[in-house]
């Protein structure tokens, strides 16, 4: 007897019935056939009306008519409604009705008259027909070939009919009904559609790719509509997508595939025949019996149609599919990977005569990925809906990034190696570049093909390409926040590209930088069992007490010198606790308490008769006394003298806490807590509190407050003396069944509960992360906390920000314990039976310069970069009237505050000594923060920053002073004023003289008034001024403009000068980058167009390279003289406002509207290290200072900060191999032969770990 349901393939029950089908029968939608429903409905009518009713309702569904009539007959035979006339003869007459008809023009069957044969397909003949009767209309009638079970077809159609009727979309041709001819052939009646198949239409109309895709998006919309109504087409192909003369698509044949598909493997050939061609069939459709099909099968078919429209052929050659047998065809559809559309076009091109123009237009790789995603073999990889496919196409048309992306490296490489086992490296390279479309354009590949005669060169290139793929995978992992995995990819890339210095260096840098993002292992212990529970740190030494599943004795694991472990000679202990000095440990089992000496390990005292419900032990601060639950009452024990005092109070059944001040005991029972004095007679400080059943309570800080969970689930903080509620944090009881745990940080500032948000008691409005785990630990210094999440990972959160730092552990089994070492340096956690000890990362990358006025804004640097002068001036808070100088080395002030009344607009160190110039505004409404266009007023004044004394009187200037510049060798200070006046102040006499006046002044630049800058050329001959609406160059020797002002035409936000070349990013009109040779006054080269606001236009110190960044969101570096791009665009989500070269000129750093500063390699465009977050609003300026040691970061709101480039780019102390090994250990994974990421088994992990330890210790 079969054990599988023949109908649906489900396993049959032992009694031989199919539960799925039986349940199906009871579902409302399928519970009754149409005939049954009609029959049942007819019973409500008088007997004589029943036949008429059924006939009227049934339409042309002859089968339903017959069935309903037979039921009615059966009902009559049984006796029917008692005493009413029987209908037997009438029914019989109806049942015997039926004429024979043949199909030809003019044939009439039921109420259709065939008018014209429209087409003939694999499935049958399509007729245009006239419907008469109640509805008179032209329809298309599709008569299915004989050979099908008509009843089945019609029945299946009926099943979907209601849903089909719900579809109402201009691009969906309606299917009205199905029926059977007198010959017993099924037919479908459909809306008559005039139009051409989409592929024919496309060829005839020669649509552009854009037009084609727009049309295709409409088709997607129709299919999406059907999907929303629950209808899957199942047979989408060009001939089912018709386009009329107006260009409106109509999708035909909905519901027909379903009705005509046999749900049985044995009929597969028939199915294939019915569907005409399997070229559009999704792998799951080809593989299954059609039961496990969802809307993504249509996504696949649409993808194939699009593929064909773009390339001219479907992904799989229909002729080839037709020739093969069913099994082979299934195999091709399920397993064979088609080339990308653009590759397909290229191949066709190579095959054909190269001189004939290709009928197919080229397109970007994005469209490739959209199509490839739609026709993924695994439907999980496809678009989830046709709407998503349409959306991505729309994005493609709008030049926005599409969601489809090249598959991950492991996936690609896996597939690649599967396919190309025997291929030569050269072939592999070409294929790689074709398939992956990474480094090479098709043209380059073509060139490469010719050039790569030498296998060696090909091999090298292939290896480097693979290394780049590893780097790419690393960058992808990093973007997802998987720092450990990223490190692994980078380490592999470094090792692979070891012959190429540029790649080697960049990837080694990445390895070290990313590794510094997370904790590093320092020791690991294998318990040899499956679970490790308790972990208790020694207060003074790196040692842990560990409880292990199935081990009779707990152990001490000691890392204080070299890792070692020993067994504590106390069997079956329940509780353990280190003495405060860390020199002894107390343990208790069901019968005794013990004191064990550390590191000796000997039992030095024993106390017997303890309570079976042993609660934890509490040491006094001096380590001399212990509170221990006795047989009935709480006891005090002095191990040294073996003195033992029973108290008068019952032993707590759950927890026991002794306050730091040792005057208070908190005793926790199952349903209440008690707060008692810690000295006889142990009086209650206030009446016992009810608590949530079996929940935990904590003494906070020194112990004057305690926290617990109230019976209604709230977290309460109470005073120990009065018991009064001080704080009530709302909470709820989650799905616990064994009480609620509550954790408090050492100072009592933070409270944590499973499934609740972290509470910061100092910040009531703090919305902390939701902690979800049954073990949480606070670092003793309260710099972070670690929580288990989902029982699988330990996530550490930074305090007080609450942001995630990292995730450690990734196991199928819960980590049972997590604890920070007392010095907050190490984190111990158990995972499986392993206990891992990790050193927390050095996260101290950025040093804030703690100015007393932390308002952000620009700063001035002293020439030797040892001091800085905050200038502030953010328009929203335009009130900085004083400033002072700070040392860059430690951020300490280097002089008293100074300033004279007005708003500081700019400042400048005049010498490396103490003199600074301040540009001060006295414009009356400056403080209101209004956007200014009028010239305003102000003065310039010279100060001694060390003494805080004014050196000069205020030097009046004609309008608000903005730009300041010091002449390179004369005692001159240039001032650019908002009204367009450019002056020079003689620093001996403090007399100002006007150089020239331009008609156009500066206006403010948005929120930050940095508009209006000036500087001298390196030789001092030229004064260059720039800002909002201003940019001009003045020749001081000739007293004339080298570059005259171009009012209202040029705004320059950034420019840069090296030697005698001036590069300026000009925006507003004809956005461009101009190059002026100051020596000749002529352009140094042709302008670069720049599409957007160029915010960064910076020449590298060597003058060779130019960094451009800004509103086009594509930062790039050029070899500007030779007009060569030095790497791909570096895309940012928002506009950079500033950027600069890293010291070696191989990388750049960018900052702007994004809340993070990014570091990228120029050559590859990929990140060089993780982005550095900042919290100061926009980044205004980035400067590499102190001979490349530091990066000075200036932001909108926060203090200036120094980022240590040495720490940001650490150098790995390990060899490449060691780096890889360490990365594997961190990621708990390895990169397999075929480039996939593989999880390490526990055994492998331990082997790697031992291997690493051997190499490093």
């Amino acid at each position: 007897m079969s054990t599988i349901c023949e109908r649906c393939g489900t396993s049959l029950s032992p009694k031989g019935h199919c539960p799925k089908c039986l349940l199906e029968t009871a579902m409302p939608e399928s519970s009754q056939s149409r005939a049954e429903r009609l029959f049942q409905a007819s019973l409500a009518l008088p007997t004589e009306e029943r036949i008429q009713f059924i006939e009227n309702s049934v339409g042309d569904d002859r089968e339903a008519l017959t069935d309903a009539l037979l039921l009615l007959q059966g009902y009559e035979e049984e006796g029917g409604d008692q005493g009413t006339p029987t209908l037997g003869s009438a029914i019989n007459a109806r049942l015997e009705m039926g004429a024979t008809e043949r199909e030809e023009v003019g044939t009439i069957f039921n109420n259709f008259r065939l008018v014209r044969r429209i087409g003939e397909g694999g499935m049958g003949t399509v007729w245009e027909a006239e419907q008469s009767g109640a509805v008179s209309r032209q329809v298309a009638l599709k008569v299915i070939k004989l050979g099908m079970d008509t009843r089945e077809v019609v029945k299946r159609f009926e099943r979907e009919r209601q849903a089909l009727a719900l579809m109402n979309h201009p691009s969906i041709a309606q299917v009205f009904e199905a029926g059977a001819t007198a010959m017993g052939r099924p037919y479908f009646v459909m809306e008559l559609v005039e139009g051409r198949a989409i592929d024919v239409y496309h060829r005839k109309k020669r649509l552009s790719n854009r037009e084609l895709i727009e049309l295709f998006i409409e088709v997607c919309g129709a299919i999406e509509h059907a999907h929303q109504k629950g209808i899957i087409h199942r047979d989408l192909k060009p001939s089912n997508i018709l386009i009329n003369e107006e260009g409106i698509p109509k999708v035909i044949d909905f519901g027909i595939a379903r009705a005509t598909t046999e749900s049985n493997h044995s009929n597969y050939t028939l199915q294939a025949q019915v569907l005409g061609t399997p070229a559009y069939m999704s792998p799951e459709q080809a593989a299954t019996d059609g039961e496990d099909i969802d809307t993504r099968t249509d996504v696949y078919s649409l993808g194939v149609v699009l593929y064909e429209l773009l390339t001219g052929t479907p992904p799989f050659d229909p002729e080839r599919l037709a020739k093969t047998g069913v099994l082979e065809m299934q195999k091709i559809i399920r397993e064979e990977q088609p080339p990308r559309p653009s590759t397909q076009i290229a191949r066709a091109k190579l095959k054909s005569d190269a001189t004939t123009p290709s009928p197919k237009q080229p397109f970007g790789s994005d469209l490739d990925w959209v199509v490839m995603k739609a026709i993924s073999k695994e439907r999980e990889r496809r678009y989830a809906s046709t709407a998503a496919l349409a959306e991505d196409l729309r994005r493609y048309l709008a030049h926005e990034p599409v969601t489809a992306a090249p598959p991950t490296l492991s996936y690609q490489l896996g597939k690649f190696f599967q396919r190309n086992k025997a291929a030569s490296i050269a072939a592999a390279l070409i294929l790689l570049s074709l398939i992956l479309g990474l480094t090479f354009s098709l043209q380059q590949t073509h060139r490469a093909q010719v050039a790569l005669a030498g296998e060696e060169r090909a091999r090298r290139l292939a290896v480097l390409t693979i290394a780049d793929l590893y780097t790419q995978s690393g960058a992808e992992a990093a973007a997802k926040g998987q720092d450990e995995v990223a490190t692994l990819w980078f380490a592999k890339a470094a090792l692979t590209a070891r012959t190429d210095p540029a790649r080697l260096d960049a990837n080694r840098t990445r390895v070290a930088a990313w590794r510094n993002q997370f904790s590093q292992p320092v020791a690991v212990f294998d318990s040899g069992e499956d679970y490790v529970s308790g972990l208790i740190w020694n207060a003074t030494q790196d040692a842990l007490i560990v409880f292990i599943e199935n081990e009779y004795y707990p152990q001490v694991w000691d890392m204080s010198e070299s890792p070692k472990r020993w067994t504590i000679p106390v069997p079956d202990a329940d509780h353990a606790s280190w003495s405060p000095d860390g020199k002894r440990l107390a343990l208790a089992n069901l019968h005794n308490a013990f004191i064990v000496d550390y590191p000796g390990g000997d039992v030095i005292a024993t106390l017997n008769t303890l309570s079976p419900a042993a609660a934890p032990l509490a040491w006094s601060a001096d380590g001399k006394t212990l509170f221990i639950p006795g047989t009935e009452n709480l006891e005090r024990w002095v191990p040294e003298t073996q003195e033992r005092h029973s108290t008068s109070i019952p032993a707590p059944s759950r927890f026991l806490h002794l306050s730091q001040t040792e005057d208070t005991l908190l005793l926790v029972m199952a349903h209440t807590l008690e707060v008692r004095e810690a000295t006889p007679p142990f009086a209650l400080r206030h009446p016992p509190q009810p608590i949530y059943e079996k929940s935990q309570a904590q003494l906070l800080g020194k112990g004057h407050q305690y926290a617990f969970v109230s019976p209604d689930g709230h977290t309460l903080v109470c005073d120990i003396f009065s018991g009064n509620i001080i704080e009530n944090h709302a909470g709820a009881i989650g799905p616990h069944f064994r009480g609620v745990k509550l954790w408090a940080s050492p100072s009592g500032r933070y409270l944590a509960r499973d499934n609740h948000a972290l509470i910061d008691r100092t910040r009531p409005d703090f919305s902390g992360p939701i902690l979800n785990g049954f073990e949480i630990a606070f670092a003793p210094d309260e710099s972070q906390l670690a929580a288990q999440v989902g029982g699988k990972q330990i996530v550490s959160y930074e305090l007080p920000s609450g942001e995630v730092i990292e995730t450690v552990g990734d196991s199928h089994l819960p980590q049972l314990a997590v604890r920070y070492s007392p010095d907050s340096r190490l984190l111990a956690f158990s995972e499986h039976g392993l206990v891992r000890i990790w050193k927390l990362p050095d996260r101290d990358l950025v040093q804030q310069i703690d100015t007393d006025n932390p308002r952000g804004g620009f700063v001035a640097l002293s020439p030797s970069e040892d001091r800085l002068l905050p200038l502030g001036h953010v328009r929203e808070d335009a009130s900085r009237k004083t400033t002072r100088v700070y040392r860059t080395s430690d951020g300490e002030p280097a002089g008293p505050p100074f300033g004279a009344g007005g708003i500081i607009m700019n400042g400048l160190f005049l010498t490396d000594g103490d003199l600074v110039a301040l540009a001060v505004s006295t414009t009356p409404d400056r403080t209101t923060g209004k956007m200014r266009v009028d010239p305003g007023s102000g003065f310039v004044q010279i100060w001694n920053s060390r003494t805080g004394q004014a050196v000069s009187e205020p030097i009046e200037v004609p309008s608000e002073p903005r730009g300041l510049a010091r002449h390179p060798y004369k005692d001159l200070l240039a001032v650019a004023c908002a009204g367009g006046e450019r002056l020079e102040i003689d620093l001996d006499t403090y007399q100002a003289s006007t150089l020239y006046t331009t008609p156009q002044g500066f206006s403010d630049n948005g929120a930050i008034s940095n508009s209006g800058r000036c500087r001298y050329s390196p030789d001092g001959r030229h004064l260059i001024t720039w800002g909002f609406w201003s940019h001009e160059v003045w020749d001081r020797d000739r007293h004339e403009f080298l570059l005259p002002p171009r009012p209202q035409e040029s705004t320059v936000f950034d420019l840069s000068i090296t030697d005698h070349i001036l590069a300026a990013g000009v925006v507003v009109k004809n956005d461009r980058v101009e190059f002026l040779d100051l020596a000749t006054g002529k352009p140094a080269r042709a302008n670069f167009p720049y599409n957007g606001w160029c915010m960064v236009c910076r020449l590298s110190p060597s003058g060779e390279r130019l960094l451009l960044a800004g509103g086009d969101l594509r930062s790039r570096v050029l070899d500007w003289k030779n007009d060569v791009r030095l790497g791909p665009d570096i895309r940012t989500p928002q506009s950079p406002l500033t950027g600069t070269f890293l010291p070696d000129e191989k990388g750049i750093v960018l900052g702007g509207y994004d809340p993070e500063i990014t570091f990228s390699e120029i050559r590859s465009g990929r990140p060089l290290r993780p982005p550095v977050p900042h919290y100061g609003g926009w980044v205004l300026d980035l400067q590499v200072i102190n001979e490349g040691k530091n990066l000075l970061i200036t932001t909108q709101y926060a203090n200036p900060a120094l980022l240590s480039l040495e720490k940001a780019f650490p150098v790995s102390p390990h060899s490449l191999e060691q780096d890889l090994l360490l990365a594997e250990i961190h990621a708990n994974a390895t990169i397999s032969e075929n480039g996939g990421l593989e999880r390490l088994t526990r055994q492998q992990w331990l082997e790697k770990w031992q291997q690493y330890q051997k190499g490093s210790f």
Binding site: E6, R7, S13, H17, P19, K20, C21, L22, L23, E24, T25, A26, M27, S31, Q32, S33, F39, Q40, L43, A44, D67, L70, L71, L72, Q73, G74, Y75, E76, E77, E78, E152, Y531, S533, G534, F547, I548, E549, D574, H575, A576, N589, A614, K694, Q696, G734, P735, H736, R738, G739, V740, K741, D754, N755, F774, E775, G791, K792, H812, P814, L816
Partner: protein, 242 residues
């Protein structure tokens, strides 16, 4: 059996179900709860079997689970429950299994006592991550539950037909319960039963109606209100969709 085939639902309001009654009186009448739950020991065992590596452990778990159900704790939980019987049982068993696991550890190893709150989700995730015959324990449970339910319904159906002397009709037509199957044509069945084809058709029609009513009644025993019957039916069917 001879009732009007149009009456597919008993008239009147949705009656208090056995499950609601039993649940509300769980502490006062523990036997009723066990009696009701006992019918479903097999699905519970299926679930337990996927949690435990061997038969003995799974049996132990199922047995001790029933003991737990009868305990004060279990009965109180039942009284507090507002959901379906199936959900209640699987939830309780999930909790119980984890509890038991913890419990065993706790008595063996002291340090464990500090780890108290573990929720059903965590347990579920843990077991979901281990592929056992492709089915998750929950789906296995649901499938077994549905089979058990159907078995009961078919038994009742068979009984009532046999009692009414219509045993042969039931046996001949039980295949017709499922539409579109490979059942023999009505004409053939009619010939074998010595009835006319229309009579056989009407008998099959009634059988299906009767079956549907019985199934819904049986499901109604395990849920709290009428709307949940359809829900439950859909849920159980979904368990068989891959």
């Amino acid at each position: 059996m001879n009732d009007n085939p149009t009456s597919s639902q008993a008239p009147g309001a949705f009656p208090a179900t056995r499950w609601t009654l039993v649940r509300e009186a769980a502490t006062s009448d523990p036997a009723a709860l066990t009696e009701l739950c006992k019918d479903y020991w097999f699905p519970l065992y299926c679930y337990a079997r996927r949690l435990r590596d061997n038969q003995a452990d799974a049996e132990d778990l199922t047995q001790s689970f029933f003991a737990h159900l009868l305990s004060k704790d279990g009965l109180q939980k039942a009284e507090q429950d507002r959901g379906k019987l199936r959900s209640f049982l699987i939830r309780s068993l999930q909790n119980f299994a984890i509890d038991e696991w913890r419990h065993a550890k706790r008595f063996k190893r002291g340090g464990f006592a500090q780890i108290v709150s573990i929720d059903a989700q965590e347990a579920e995730e843990r077991y979901l991550s281990e592929p056992v015959e492709k089915l998750t324990p929950e789906v296995a449970f649901d499938r077994a539950w549905a089979s058990q339910l159907l078995e009961d319904v078919l038994n009742k159906l068979s009984q009532s037909y046999h009692q009414a002397g219509k045993g042969p009709i039931f046996e001949k037509l039980r295949e017709q319960l499922v539409p579109g199957g490979t059942q023999q044509p009505y004409a053939l069945a009619a010939a074998e039963l010595g009835m006319s084809e229309p009579a056989v058709r009407i008998a099959a029609f009634k059988l299906r109606n009767r079956y549907r009513d019985l199934l819904k009644q049986t499901i109604a025993q395990t849920v709290s209100n009428e709307t949940e019957v359809e829900e439950e039916l859909a849920h159980l069917r979904a368990a068989f969709v891959n």
